[in-house]
Amino acid sequence: MTKWIEIGTLNDIPVLGSRVVRTASGNIAVFRTSDDEVFALDDRCPHKGGPLSQGIVHNKRVTCPLHNFVIELKSGMAVAPDEGCTRAHPTKVENGIVWLGVQAVATVPAE
């Protein structure tokens, strides 16, 4: 089951930038694109765990600050030729409020 949690307003996140949501099981990076879409990924690069929230956001992608893996914001997949995937979380924006969807632990699919 997805549980929706309010995490802040759209204006709290810089355009083409990112903010971090801290959780007990690690940080989640929340990104905002140039057309105000919001995406959330685990703040860990599939390469060597670099903090994706610190990367440069372009189109619907972010470049990891450590070794330049480029990650799709929507799916968390590394853009070819790189390989790897980081977990993506559902988000929604309603009336300028950003919501993060989290899975109840038991239902996290073991992909």
Binding site: T23, V30, G55, I56, H58, L66, V102
Partner: protein
């Protein structure tokens, strides 16, 4: 842009390797200067003549070896008149005349007509089936012959002859190689190596008749055989003459240009008529003619620079090396290996491995090398040969090559071949040679960008780019590296760095989206490569006006600290000229204690690094450092980093000037400036040079009578001593020149291009002229530098610690209680 009519006209005769390389370099240096017309008697675009041998051997196709498509000529506004032969140069009217009689005027003319194969004046030489080995047509002829005929004779046992023979053999013909002397490739090989080569070619089925002199080519309608001076006759359906080449100077000679063996040119590649240049195999420079591409490309570069009216590069001649392109045979030769009383030799022969190496030394230096069977060290020996390195300290192990000298390859490109597969090439990303080689061959990579994308090598600090390029060249084979095309900034655009810089200035573009729109960017918001570059160009072009775009800054510059592998940061406060005080040290110690900073380390730039600071602690750490009077050291910036100094005349018994004081003045004047890449300075108080000023971006060495200013050094993966710029008498002049130099670099450098690379690209003389010789220009550069400093000298730490700038950056958006 000037329209075609008003541009001076450059006519190029010869659509071959040297001519087109010159045009390519010219387009790179001065894209819009000339209206260019190229005449080529061959009916194709420019192709890689070297690779005709693999085409003949069936290892490549004609399409594989095309270098420039017709589209390329069109895209660059060049008129290509292929299949048209120039018959005459009319120097009186400055026109060239084609075989059909058309006249085309020129303002500058480039002759690049290459050479012709020498056809021995034997009876029967004009019979069908007797050809040279020079162009695509010859190859097509040979391939066709191989399908309907059996016996081929190649006259000439040199490089070209053996490659022809090998190709014909691969095509299924019986091949006999006829050679006048008793050693194959006698110009490149000694007797032993020549013998080894002969043996392994014989094992493959090649037949040799040598020493032997050909007396006649037999046949009536077509060649049927060859007769030798000893009376022997052998059957032949195809005869390839590969006995040498003759520079193609006919056209030049008829036009009254001074020719000897080749067209005689000066060090700037000009003929006796200053409007007429010549490059390539048709040229004779300082008594020397060349028949390999490497020296021709050197000539092309000099010629293009001169045509572009940039720089004062001169061509000083080349030393050449040779490899034989017969798959499975490794052979390398360079320099002079004829025996002589003043020479020493080191010879190694390992018959079981089929390896032979002979290194010839004179006066402690390598003057020649012949390698057979194991040629990985060829380029390494060649480098020492060209550099004239004193090799006496490694004499005993010399013959075993670079890999046995404990040189991990960091001395640069020439050890690449000798590296084992597990040698790390890219230190940043831990990528080994084997990985790169594998990616190149399996994924068919051809450019450095491909390699970057697939392996990560050279994608971070980029200092291993040269090495990766070498691996690329080495893996792809061929004796030269592919032509440098105008390089786009990244995959988001077709435009180069220079294009972007020019367009920004010319069109008064002031934001990143404006630039992208104007230049038809292919992506909506660019990427991590182009956005920071554009941001820098705008910042450098419009100081005080352009608002720095934080989201186009690499994280370190956005948060003014250096990200570490675990996502924490390091903090380096400025220590002016490397001088600190007990109070500052106490404050640093207190900060380290208060914030549990795990590592405190002295840096190479004479300051202190606090490593492992959590991001959210950064503003508080800075506040404490600010309180003690310290500001950001910009240790993360593409900007002024450190000014290293020695204690100079204040303390040192050798000191000639106050080097510490000058260093502090420089740092106080220049801190905060953004540059294309990092800039490090140093000031030494005397030529003992304790501050290591001669490997910095800019270094000052004090002497009794003043200050020597050096620049364009490097001491990272590349090590390069500085170039001497000038010497001045006062501190004021020193400061003015260094600021002017830095400003010129800020205005011309490509983003991430270090000062030494910029200097390489635009030329030392051009720089010296602008910042030293032309005083008015220097003052103008200086005042532009001073102007932009007004806007950049505010401490980014204070802004964030006290005024809460970018507070968002340092606090989480939310904290969730999740399982």
């Amino acid at each position: 842009m000037l329209d075609k009519v008003n541009k001076p006209k450059l006519v190029v005769i010869g659509n071959g390797m040297a001519g087109i390389r010159t045009v390519e370099v010219l387009l790179d240096r001065a894209p819009d200067l000339y209206d260019i017309t190229v005449f080529g008697s061959e009916p194709y675009g420019n192709y890689n003549r070297i690779l005709l041998s693999p085409v003949l051997a069936g290892e490549k196709t004609v399409d594989d070896i095309m270098l420039n498509t017709e589209q390329w000529y069109e895209d660059n506004g060049i008129t290509l008149r292929k299949g048209e032969m120039i018959e005459m140069i009319d120097r009186r009217t400055c026109e060239v005349v084609t075989a059909e009689g058309a006249r085309v005027p020129y303002d500058r003319l480039l002759i690049a007509t290459g050479s012709n194969p020498i056809m021995l004046p034997l009876p029967g030489k004009d019979l069908p089936g007797v050809i040279g080995f020079r162009d695509i047509q010859d190859v097509e002829h040979m391939v066709k012959a191989s399908t309907s005929y059996k016996n081929a004779v190649v006259i000439g046992g040199g490089l070209l002859g053996l490659e022809a023979a090998n190709g014909l053999m691969k095509r299924g013909m019986n091949v006999t190689v006829v050679h006048l002397l008793d050693t194959l490739m006698e110009r490149q090989l000694d007797q032993v190596a020549g013998g080894l080569l002969r043996k392994s070619l014989e094992e493959r089925g090649m037949v040799f008749k040598m020493p032997a002199q050909t007396e006649a080519i037999l046949g009536t309608d077509r060649v049927t055989g060859v007769r030798f001076a000893d009376g022997e006759e052998i059957p032949a359906d195809l005869v390839v003459m590969a006995v040498g080449i003759r520079p193609n100077v006919e056209l030049a000679r008829k036009a009254g240009l001074y020719c000897e063996r080749g067209i005689v040119v000066s060090d700037t590649m000009q003929t006796y008529d200053g409007r007429i240049y010549a490059v390539g195999e048709c040229v004779q420079h300082r008594r020397q003619t060349y028949g390999l591409v490497a020296p021709l490309f050197d000539q092309a570069k000099v010629c293009a620079n001169h045509l572009a009216m940039k720089g004062f590069a001169t061509y000083d001649g080349s030393v050449v090396s040779t490899k034989l392109k017969v798959t499975g045979i490794d052979l390398f030769s360079a320099g002079d290996f004829a025996p002589g009383a003043d020479k020493e030799e080191i010879v190694m022969q390992d018959a079981s491995r089929g390896v032979y190496k002979r290194i010839i030394l004179r006066d402690k230096r390598i003057v020649g090398a012949v390698l057979y069977g194991d040629t990985v060290d060829g380029p390494w020996y060649f480098q020492h040969l060209r550099d004239g390195t004193d090799v006496s300290h490694m004499r005993e192990r010399l013959v075993f090559g670079a890999a046995n000298l404990g040189d991990g390859g960091h001395s640069g490109k020439n050890s690449v071949a000798a590296m084992s597969d597990d040698t790390e090439i890219c230190g940043c990303n831990g990528v080994c040679k084997g990985t790169i080689v594998k990616a190149i061959s399996e994924k068919k990579l051809f450019t450095i960008d491909d390699v970057r994308a697939h392996t990560k090598a050279s994608s971070s600090c980029g200092s291993c780019t040269g090495l990766v390029e070498q691996v690329l060249a080495f893996t792809l084979g061929g004796d030269y590296s592919a032509a440098p095309k105008v390089k786009p900034i990244c995959a988001c655009t077709d435009h180069s760095h220079d294009d972007a810089r020019r367009v920004i200035v010319e069109n008064g573009l002031k934001t990143i989206p404006d630039v992208m729109k104007f230049m038809d960017w292919k992506t909506a918001n660019g990427c991590h490569s182009c956005r920071p570059a554009l941001n820098y160009y705008l910042l450098a072009t419009w100081p005080g006006e352009y608002r720095d775009d934080q989201q186009s800054r690499y994280i370190n510059e956005r948060v003014h600290a250096n990200i570490q592998k675990d996502g924490t940061y390091s903090v380096v406060p400025r220590m002016w000229g490397g001088v600190t005080t007990p109070d500052e040290l106490r404050a640093i110690a207190d900060v380290a204690d208060k914030f549990n900073i795990p590592t405190v380390k002295v840096t190479g730039g004479q300051r202190i690094d606090l490593l492992g600071v959590k991001k959210e602690d950064l503003p508080a750490v800075w506040a404490d450092l600010n309180k003690a009077g310290m500001v950001s050291g910009h240790a993360y910036a593409k900007g002024l980093r450190t000014v290293k100094t020695c204690v100079g005349s204040e303390w040192c018994r050798f000191g000639t000037q106050d080097s510490t004081g000058l260093g502090i003045k420089l740092e106080k004047f220049m801190w905060g400036s953004w540059t294309p890449a990092k800039v490090k300075l140093a000031v030494s108080g005397c030529p003992r040079n304790c501050a290591e000023a001669t490997c910095k971006d800019v270094g000052v060495v004090c002497v009794d009578s003043g200050y020597e200013i050096h620049f364009a050094g490097a001491a990272g993966l590349h090590i390069k001593g500085t170039e001497f710029l000038t010497k001045v008498a006062t501190e004021e002049e020193t400061l003015e020149i260094i600021a002017a130099l830095t400003q010129l670099y800020r205005e011309q450098g490509w983003y991430l291009e270090r000062m030494y690379k910029w200097c390489d690209r635009v030329g030392l003389d051009a720089i010296r002229k602008q910042v030293v010789d032309d005083v008015a220009n220097r003052k103008a550069l200086f005042s532009r530098f001073a102007h932009s400093q007004q806007f950049s000298q505010s401490d980014p730490w204070a802004a964030r610690a006290e005024r809460g700038v970018d507070r968002n950056e340092f606090t989480p958006l939310a904290e969730l209680e999740l399982a």
